[in-house]
């Protein structure tokens, strides 16, 4: 993956381009609507979903409140079980640690399990620049990597591609990376999955180093947990001689028992299954493997310091919020300019990266605040609340600031509002059908309402509330 999100324009511009791409919109709509229905069905099946959600939220909040204690407990448990723990304050440090660990093995290639954390830090690009090839093994990540593309969804990074496009990518690109695609490859999902199986099998059996993330880490026991579907995760986690897991510090759970909550919340919210096909759990170095855990901060402690914003760290990356989001469905993942797209991206990216760029400042506005994400979130992250909170922190354009200040001045006193209304009524015939400036955005597709001759308050005054 040589393309990056760096330097992308602001969300509205990206979204406008995406919305005009009818193939993309069709793909996204089909995929998100499929998964929405499945999720709703398996969530509806559980009589205690609300209780699980409340517990999940509280466990995460409790962990974050005591993160220092639990990190130390985790470190001790992993070390006791024969693993090595490394601490990375930022992306550069994490990349350096991983590169050194791979170099120490003498290998020049690694297999990878899909991991948001390693995408966030740009690990593949970093390794590539140092002569180490990272092979993505998750089917969707493979599609993205072969297509020299960018991920557009947390769970299904190639959600923007349909079967015909995937077939094209496999046929034209697989040979560059290893075993070519079968010549008579069809666009049947089964055939495409089989092509991926064949392409990667030899690599799994022979590669000596694997890099993964993790869905959960258990402080009490030092156990790491990876949920997946295809078995590529199991391949990477069990077969290579060295395993390096790069995990964000917020992925902790205090106790083994806490898994009873999250192993119910995550699969149902994410793939809409009662349970995902495979879950791997391991504690330290097992089955003769060498194990390294890299704990990643990279802005997380800054998010933690924000009283309202820190709830974003509860996120378990299920992607339910993306799948129900009407904005994501139409804008697609790339518009968010980050590995974290959709509603969670709109609150996480500007917090992790700061509000420095135009793109990052535009993300908190990439929502109509409809609240569908909050309802779907298994750990009850109040995404609209955080969006509004971040909007208050972002710098505003000067013209807008002036307009809002003027509106505030008018609303400050009822007499001012009444005077403004009368003024509007007097000139109501003069309002053009198409407005100038930024308000043209309204009249491009929508008519304006007629301005009434009398405001409600004047009517009430004149008629004593209709009694005269």
């Amino acid at each position: 993956m040589s393309r990056t999100f760096v330097g992308m324009p602001a969300f509205p511009r990206n979204a406008t381009r995406a919305v005009q791409n009818s193939q993309l919109r069709y793909n996204l709509r089909k995929a998100t609507h499929t998964i929405r229905g499945k999720r709703a069905a398996v969530v509806g099946e559980l009589p205690d979903w609300a209780e699980l959600r409340a517990a999940g939220k509280a466990i995460k909040d409790h962990t974050l409140r005591n993160l220092d204690t639990y990190l130390l407990q985790l470190e001790e448990a992993v070390t006791r079980a024969g693993g090595h723990v490394h601490w990375a304050a930022d992306a550069a440090e994490a990349n350096r640690i991983v590169t050194d660990l791979v170099r120490a093995t003498g290998e020049t290639s690694v297999v990878k399990v899909k991991s948001m954390a390693t995408q966030e830090i740009g690990l593949n690009e970093h390794l590539a620049a140092r002569g180490i090839t990272a092979y993505e093994t998750d089917l969707a990540e493979l599609i993205v990597q072969l297509g020299d593309d960018l991920p557009s969804h947390i769970l299904v990074p190639a959600i923007h591609r349909n079967r015909a496009e995937i077939r094209e990518i496999f046929l034209s690109k697989m040979a560059e990376w290893g075993r070519p695609a079968p010549e008579r490859l069809t666009d049947e999902p089964r055939a495409l999955a089989e092509a991926a199986r064949l392409h990667l099998r030899e690599r799994f059996l022979s590669t000596k180093v694997a890099i993964s993330g993790a869905n959960f880490m258990i402080a009490e026991t030092g156990t790491l947990v990876v949920l997946e579907s295809e078995g590529n995760g199991r391949m990477c986690l069990t077969l290579p001689e060295t395993l390096i897991s790069v995990v964000g510090i917020e992925k902790l759970l205090p106790t083994w028992r806490d898994l009873e909550v999250f192993l119910q919340l995550l699969p149902r919210s994410s793939t809409g299954e009662r349970m995902n096909p495979y879950t791997s759990m391991w504690t330290g170095a097992v089955d003769g493997q060498e194990f390294h855990l890299v704990l990643l901060d990279n802005g997380r402690t800054r998010v933690l310091a924000d009283e309202v914003g820190r709830q974003a760290l509860r996120c378990i990356r299920c992607s339910a919020c993306l799948n129900v989001c009407p904005v994501y469905e139409r804008a697609g993942g790339h518009a968010y300019g980050s590995v974290y797209p959709g509603p969670i991206g709109a609150i996480l990216t500007p917090q992790l990266r700061g509000l420095g760029s135009e793109l990052d400042r535009s993300l908190p506005y990439a929502s109509s605040l409809c609240g569908a994400c909050f309802d779907a979130c298994p750990v009850a992250i109040d995404i609209p609340e955080v969006l509004v909170h971040l909007r208050a922190k972002a710098r505003h354009a000067r013209a807008e600031r002036a307009g809002m200040r003027a509106a505030g001045w008018v609303f400050d006193r009822p007499e001012r509002l009444a005077r403004a209304q009368r003024l509007g009524s007097r000139f109501r015939r003069l309002v053009p059908r198409r407005l100038p400036g930024p308000l043209a955005a309204w009249t491009d597709t929508r008519d304006l309402p007629d301005i009434p001759a009398t405001s409600f308050r004047d009517w009430w005054d004149k008629t004593d509330g209709g009694r005269r």
């Binding site: 793909n27 089909k30 499929t34 998964i35 205690d48 209780e51 517990a55 509280a58 409790h62 409140r65 993160l67 220092d68 130390l72 601490w87 304050a89 930022d90 089917l139 299904v156 959600i159 995937i166 999902p189 089964r190 999955a193 991926a196 199986r197 990667l200 099998r201 799994f204 059996l205 022979s206 009490e220 579907s229 295809e230 078995g231 590529n232 199991r234 069990t238 077969l239 510090i249 028992r257 192993l263 119910q264 299954e273 009662r274 349970m275 096909p277 495979y278 879950t279 791997s280 759990m281 504690t283 097992v286 704990l295 901060d297 402690t301 800054r302 933690l304 310091a305 009283e307 820190r310």
Partner: protein, 214 residues
């Protein structure tokens, strides 16, 4: 993004811990409400497990305990598996049923991945099964082998005893020892990466067959 408050000479470990402590200072403690189910008595465990495994395209047979060897032999015959890997600690009658007319490969000393790739299948027991979610848990205990054993071969035949089935996830978590490496399996390998439609069979065993001894 080093915080100016903390001298850069400190290790990243100390730096991160200091940042965490500064960030949560004064934050309120949080009670964890555990009002969710921790057991689900009254569930017909065998039939629910069978139904849920079937939902995710595993092949399922429910037989009386005494007929397990026969069911094992029949399944392997149908599959046409001639070379089978069998972990240590499997009940002798099951192992014998599997061995009749077939080559049994042992994982002692541990087989290389490419050797595992050349067997036709693997026969195992399990540690726990969860009826509600159609999940089988292997914890590397007796009759289960290390994790690679049930991963590389394309066919996995697993025998679940009725007493090993629990109704819901919390009961399974309570029964398991975190120190043991585990694989939780719900149906054969699958992907939803193409248009979010589920397709069975990618890297893990493409066929999962389960015999439930009732």
């Amino acid at each position: 993004m080093t915080s100016p408050m903390i001298p850069p000479t400190r290790s990243s470990r100390d730096l991160i811990l200091a940042r965490v402590r500064a960030a949560v200072r004064g934050a309120p403690e949080v009670e964890i409400p555990r009002g969710y189910r921790t057991a689900a008595p009254g569930t017909d465990l065998v039939s629910l497990l069978a139904e849920r495994l079937d939902d995710y395209r595993a092949q399922v047979h429910v037989v009386p305990e005494a007929e397990v060897p026969g069911a094992v032999a029949a399944a392997l015959d149908r599959r046409g598996a001639a070379r089978l890997v069998v972990p240590g600690g499997l009940p002798e009658e099951w192992r014998r049923a599997a061995a009749a007319g077939r080559e049994i490969v042992r994982d002692d000393p541990p087989l290389r991945a490419d050797e595992l790739d050349r067997v036709d299948g693997v026969l195992t027991a399990c540690a726990v099964a969860v009826a509600e979610t159609g999940t089988i848990v292997l914890d590397s205990g007796p009759g289960q082998g290390r994790r690679a054993l049930t991963l590389v071969p394309d066919y996995h035949l697993c025998v679940v005893r009725a007493a090993q089935i629990v109704a819901i996830v919390p009961e399974a978590v309570a029964r398991l020892d975190p120190a043991a490496p585990q694989t939780w399996i719900a149906g054969p390998s699958a992907t939803s990466d193409i248009e979010l439609n589920r397709v069975e069979g990618v890297h893990g065993p493409r066929t999962l067959e389960v015999i439930i001894a009732s």
